[in-house]
């Protein structure tokens, strides 16, 4: 579906899983992030910038913003993935080296937010995942960070959950309504 722009496909067809697992186990700190806006309202993008300022300073964990997905371990995906951006998003994620990590930020990134069923958007990362599978792009780990916009602390918390430093607090809860 997504053309490679005439370049040869550099990804080997049979990927060595042992190498991948080794790389994944080494990925505990100092992850480099690439900020990918897929048509968001810029609320989450401003919060991502907040995280990088000296006030919240994620560089104390070694997290650094890079300008190219080829250098990145993690993609900070904001926005509900508009139809126009699909091809670019798939190309950006494909350009990342394995192991690929994705942090879906904000209500839009997780479930589409208020654009969950419009004609112009996919409605968040879960729907993009199917397209990525069709394009043969594998993502190794995804962490969903709800919030509208996400708090800078929530992004730091999400990154910690992604790296396995913290256990997620959210649990699926199903309760029966009780008579008062």
């Amino acid at each position: 579906m997504v053309s490679n722009g005439g370049r040869p496909n550099l990804e080997p067809l049979e990927f060595n899983l042992n190498v991948l697992e080794e790389a994944f186990s080494k990925l505990k700190r100092s992850i480099w992030v690439f900020h990918l806006n897929t048509g968001s309202c810029n609320g989450c993008d401003i919060e991502v910038l907040d995280v990088l300022t000296p006030y919240f300073d994620v560089e104390r964990f070694g997290i650094k913003l890079v300008g190219s997905p080829r250098h990145a371990d993690l993609i900070l995906l904001t926005g509900p993935v508009t139809i126009k951006t699909i091809s670019k998003v798939v190309r950006a994620i494909k350009a990342m080296p394995r192991p690929r990590l994705v942090l879906a930020l904000g209500s839009c990134g997780v479930g589409g937010g208020i654009w969950f069923n419009t004609y112009a958007t996919l409605g968040g990362y879960p729907n993009l995942e199917k397209i990525l599978k069709e394009a043969g792009v594998e993502v190794d780990k995804v962490v969903y960070v709800p919030g509208c916009p996400v708090r800078p602390e929530a992004i730091i918390y999400g990154a910690a959950v992604l790296l396995g430093l913290l256990q997620p607090k959210s649990k699926h809860r199903r309760v029966t309504a009780v008579e008062s």
């Binding site: 000296p54 919240f56 479930g111 589409g112 937010g113 709800p146 509208c148 730091i156 997620p168 309504a177």
Partner: protein, 172 residues
């Protein structure tokens, strides 16, 4: 040349600006709106919150003899409108924002209600608790035969009554 040394005195005076967030409490004000909590004791399953919710993060679905009020945190925009419209004040806005998880299913919260079946067509149309609440609020002034009848059957029933009164026709 040593102009930059001026910075040292300033930094000594001002101290460290950086928050030590994971090791200290977050900067959450009392007005901050986070994840909502639905009280299963107070909730009657009227669905007022599902109608006001802008991203339809709150939905109510009827399946069999169960009505499920589903709250998907992933879609919620934390506007607090549901807590504002709730007639029973069953929804409270908490200050919880550390919601990150790798499992999408963890972001669902559900409250299950038992439903009432229509006395005529047998279709489940509302929750037991809502009918009791309506009865309580209007002090048992509902006609007994209309209380457990779904809106569509009630329409037919009323039309039939009017028909028999005005025209003197009974039946359909």
């Amino acid at each position: 040349m040593v102009k930059f040394l001026k910075m040292l005195s300033i930094s000594v005076r001002e101290g460290t600006a950086t928050r030590k967030y994971p090791f200290e409490s977050p900067l959450v004000t009392p007005e901050f709106r986070g994840k909502i909590e639905v009280d299963p004791v107070k909730c009657v399953g009227c669905g007022a919150c599902t109608r006001i919710c802008p991203p339809k993060a709150l939905t109510i679905s009827y399946e069999g003899d169960e009505a499920t009020l589903k709250y998907f945190v992933g879609k919620c925009i934390f506007c607090g409108m549901c807590a504002y419209v709730c007639p029973q004040k069953a929804i409270t806005v908490s200050r919880e924002f550390e919601l990150a998880t790798w499992e999408l299913g963890d972001l669902y919260n559900e409250v299950v209600h038992t439903t009432v079946k229509c006395g005529i067509c047998g279709k489940s149309f509302t929750t037991v608790k809502l009918i009791k609440e309506v009865e309580r609020r209007i002090e048992n002034k509902v006609p007994e035969d209309l209380l457990e009848v779904c809106p569509e059957c009630r329409k037919k029933l009323t039309a039939r009554k009017i028909g028999s009164k005005v025209v003197g026709v009974s039946g359909e």
